[in-house]
Every structure is written in C-alpha cells, then in structure tokens.
Amino acid sequence: MAFLDIAGVRKVYGQTTVVREFNLSVERGEFVSFLGPSGCGKTTTLRMVAGFESPTVGTITIDGKNVTHLPPNQRNIGMVFQAYALFPNMSVADNIGFGLKVAKKPAAEIGPRVKEMLDLIKLPHLADRYPYQLSGGQQQRVALARALANKPQVLLLDEPLSALDAKIRVSLREEIRTLQKALGITTIFVTHDQEEALSMSDRIVVMSDGRMEQVGNPFEIYNYPSTRFVAGFVGTLNILKARVIDAATGKLSIDGQEVATTRSLDGSANGSMRSVALRPEAVSLGERSGTGNALTGTIEEVGFLGSVVRIKVRIGENAVSLDTFNSSSVTPPKRGDTVSIVFTREDLLVLEGPEPA
C-alpha cells in the first residue's frame, strides 16, 4: 500500500470544478512535483492533502490512515509556503521550536532538536535573529527547518521558491532535494517552473485545468509527453503539421517532404493531418544519414545569444527553431540560405489532442 494515497479526489466550488478525478499513490520517501500553469488545481490539491481544503469527493490516506476530513493540526504534516509565513514575533530558534512546543515536548528535547535543524540548514549563527532581519533565502530555509522539526509524515511545499531571485532559487532547490533525500521524507512539491520539477523530482504530475495530464519520472515527461499540453508546457517545442502517409510504418509528410517516426500513429487514417513536434535540441543542421530524417528549408532568423546561436528555419507553413553552439571557427548561416535540418525518428513526437484544421 502506498504511503500517501489520493484516490478519486475532486474539488468543486459552486459550478466550477477546480480539481477533477485526481488519483495518485506516493511511496514513502518519494519526491513528487505537481507541475502546471496558474489555476490548474495543483495548489488546491496540495491544500487538500494538508487539510486546508476538503475534497468534494474522494479520500486521502497517509500511512494507512484516512485523513480526508481530519483538521490540519492533526495530520502531522509539515508545510512550507510561498510567502515563508515565519512568525514575526518569534526569533528563528523560536520559529523552529514552535511545533515542538505545541506538541508539549520537554525543553531538554526542544533545544537540541532546534540546534540540529539550524545546523541542517547551515544557519546556526542566526538563531536569535528575527524574520525581518533575514534575507528571502534565509527565511525560506528557516521555514523548511520549522516544517521538518516535528518529523512530519509528509512534507508539503507550495511554490516555496517563487518569491526568490533566480540564483537563490537554484541553490535552494538543490538544498531542499539534498535534505529530502537525507531525511527520506515523503514530499509533495508544487511549482509552475518546469526546471524545478525536472531537476528535483522522482516523479512529476503535470496538471492542466484541474486534470492530471501525465504522471511519470522527469525523463518520461520530457521525452515521451503523452498529450499536446505536456509536450508544449514542459520544455520548448516546435509543432509542425504533418500528413499521414502510412500509419503502420510511421511515415509522414511535412510540406511534401517524407519523414518517419517511431511514435505511434494508431487511430490515424492515411492521408489525415496530425500534429508532430520536435525539441530544439533534437534538431541540427546537416545532411540525412542512415535512417534519420531530414527536411529542407530556408533560414528565416538567426539570433546570436552568446554561447548559443538560435536559428529559425521555414519549411513551407511550418517553422522549426534549433539551437547550435557558437563556434568562432564556424560562421552562422545567413537569412535566406537554404539548409537541411536533421533529426532522428525517435525525436519526432506525435501529439495527442485536437487536430489542426
């Protein structure tokens, strides 16, 4: 049995369904991210696990115990908020020790535990400071320590890095992941930042409009997106219109040029239109070799970004962007040049969802 089980959960506000049929089993010690745009239902789902919202339908079980209608202060969860939510009237040490005091732990236990948490987040010298005296990154680390001090069953993080600047975000997400692995605590992490989700998670739940679009590990989500939304939301994507030549063998035609894919074209009639996609990093300039694909087009734009040169190639009504590394010995192509782009059959993704007109 999974450690955290969210079964058939739905949340409706009046006439609006914000979370539809959410089913997820999380193993003990697993790090799962809920990834999606604003308003997709990821925070609402997290809040239902925390107990701040009640599911309209469905159950939530933690370690075999049904907590669906249990108040938050009886679930033994730890939560980290986007706005840090440190108690302004308490020092760092008091903030971290708050949960332990509420649980009526003896002072002899609280002191060492607080010290342990301060050492864990590498801020032992800030024990007597108040939240307003800390930077954003420090505040969030204290918030994390506070959430972990009570040894919660589940750690919930609601976009904890959103309010921080880019550099701090990168270092802090590594710290969070390191801590989580060291403590082996089951964790749910809500974010709209795909880079965070991809770099930190054991599994990702991609959500859109209250629905679970796909659940998988980062490699699967990125390389094998099962829906158009996942393909477009996670990573950059070139979407092209293709005509199916032979669904059984995966042959397609893009602007009259034949290509092939190893992805499934099941359900597509020969001659019908499908949306296919290419990641920019899967495409390069060159000539066809072996069983790979090649398309001929015209350079529409060349962008020099320092270490990267971004090239946009027009292929009939389609456009493909690709990135190449800048090299001082190689002159970038010019606008209007005719070029050939190459990619493998595996890299040509076939998108689900409504077909282009």
Partner: protein, 262 residues
C-alpha cells in the same frame, strides 16, 4: 514664503491657535488661586483631595478592566471575521460605529430599564454588578476605536497564511490566537487600549447616572463648587490624555522592533 504655501501655513496657525489658546487660558487661570501671583496652589489642593485619588484610582481600575474585556472580545472577533467571514465585515464595522451615533444617556437609560432593582436581573441593586454594567458600557463606548485599531493591525499581517502555518505545526485556534495573532497586533491593541483609557478617564454621563465614584463625576462636582481647582483638573485630564497619546506613539515605534516587525 511662496504664495501656494501661505494658505496651508495660515490654516495650520489658525487651527493651532484655536486649540491652544483656550488651553493656555485655562492653565493660566489655574495658576491664579493665590491672589497677586502665579502658584500651583490649585494643583496642590487637587492632589491633596482624597476624592481625587479615589475617583482617579476607580476610573483607572475600570479602564483597565474595560481594556481587558475589550481585547478579549474584539481581537478574536476581528480575527474570525478577517479569516472566515470577510463578507460580514461591513456589517460588523457598522455595528462598531453605532456607539458614536447613539448617545451614552440612551445606553444608560436602557440599562436602568433592564437591570433596575425590580427587574428580572437586578444588577443595579448591587455595587459590584453596577461596576460590571459600567465596564460593559465602556466596552461598547470604546468599541469603534478598539475594533478599528485591531482591524488595522490585522491588515498589516498575513493572517491567513500565519494561521495555516501554525495549524500545519499542530497548533489549536487558541494557541494561534494568543501565541501568534495577539503578539503581532500588540501595537494595534495598545493603541486601542490607550484610546480606551483616555475615553474612560474623562467619561461623565454613564458614571454619573449609574452613581459610581468615577473621575468624570468628580470633575463635574469640583467644577460646581470651586473656581480654580476645575481648571487645574482640566489641565491634569489633558495631560493624562496626551500622555496616553505619547505612549501610543512610543509603543508604536519602539514595540515594532521587539516584536520583530519592521
């Protein structure tokens, strides 16, 4: 001075004179008890009067109890409304403004009708019960100020997220209220408390009609029977009020650092 600044400065000077001149005149009159020279004889007479000490002490005690009851009533109410019932905030705000509209004498006559010695709850038949009635009346009278002060204080903190953070750590509502919310609105509560104190110290109608030995009736009594002492008492009352305002300012800036807020 530039032409556009002259108007505001003139208004400020005239306004200041309007308030300050009568005060100066009152103070000057209070120094005239000894014929032919200025002296503090009127003040000495006031401070030597046991009734002054008794009435001031009584009003101070009633004020403190009023503040305590007011805080225990208003802080949880404002907190619950802000957290759970934001839609009824306009209704509650209207209710808290009613004491400014309804005269104190109306409240007192209502008390006398409801709680007189022949009624089902004869609170006015007992001294302590009447003191309690006075406290409740003052809580109502100071409600506009206390509620507004506390509500402003709650607006300055993220009540919802702090509450959820505390709940996630296992805290009950009482713990959240007394360990998180109240300390973080301490400055606002103190503002309301000092305003309440100033109101209660000088209040006359309710204390007089309920026949309690408060400072307000004492002021009126001295005014009816003496010449210079009432002026001295008026100055003392102003000083007490200004001291409350000063303490509000002091705690407003000083307490912020201690509570860890900017």
């Amino acid at each position: 001075m530039k032409a556009e600044r002259f108007g505001p400065w003139l208004a400020m000077v005239l306004g200041t004179l309007y308030f300050v001149v009568p005060l100066i005149a009152t103070f000057e009159f209070s120094l005239r008890k000894r014929r032919g020279e200025y002296s503090f004889d009127a003040y000495r007479a006031v401070f030597a009067d046991t009734r002054f000490i008794e009435s001031f002490g009584y009003s101070t005690m009633i004020a403190l109890i009023t503040i305590l009851v007011g805080v225990l009533l208003v802080v949880p109410t404002a907190y619950v409304i802000r957290l759970r019932l934001p839609r009824i905030r306009p209704v509650v705000e209207f209710i808290t403004l009613l004491p400014l509209v309804i005269p104190a004498i109306v409240i007192v006559f209502g008390y006398l009708r409801l709680y007189n010695s022949s009624s089902f709850l004869p609170m006015t038949a007992s001294t302590r019960a009447t003191d309690l009635l006075l406290v409740f009346a003052y809580v109502v009278l100071s409600m506009p100020y206390m509620y507004r002060a506390v509500d402003t204080g709650l607006r300055a903190i993220d009540v919802k997220t702090l509450t959820e953070a505390a709940e996630s750590l296992g805290a009950s509502w009482w713990t959240i209220l007394f360990k998180i919310i109240l300390p973080n609105v301490r400055v606002a509560v103190l503002s309301g408390a000092f305003l309440t104190f100033a109101i209660v110290i000088g209040e006359f109608t309710m204390a007089s009609l309920l026949n309690r030995p408060a400072f307000g009736p004492y002021l009126q009594n001295v005014g009816a029977n003496s010449a210079y002492e009432p002026s001295a008492l008026a100055v003392i009352a102003f000083v007490v009020t200004w001291a409350c305002m000063g303490l509000m300012q002091l705690f407003g800036s000083g307490a912020r650092g201690a509570s860890g807020t900017r």
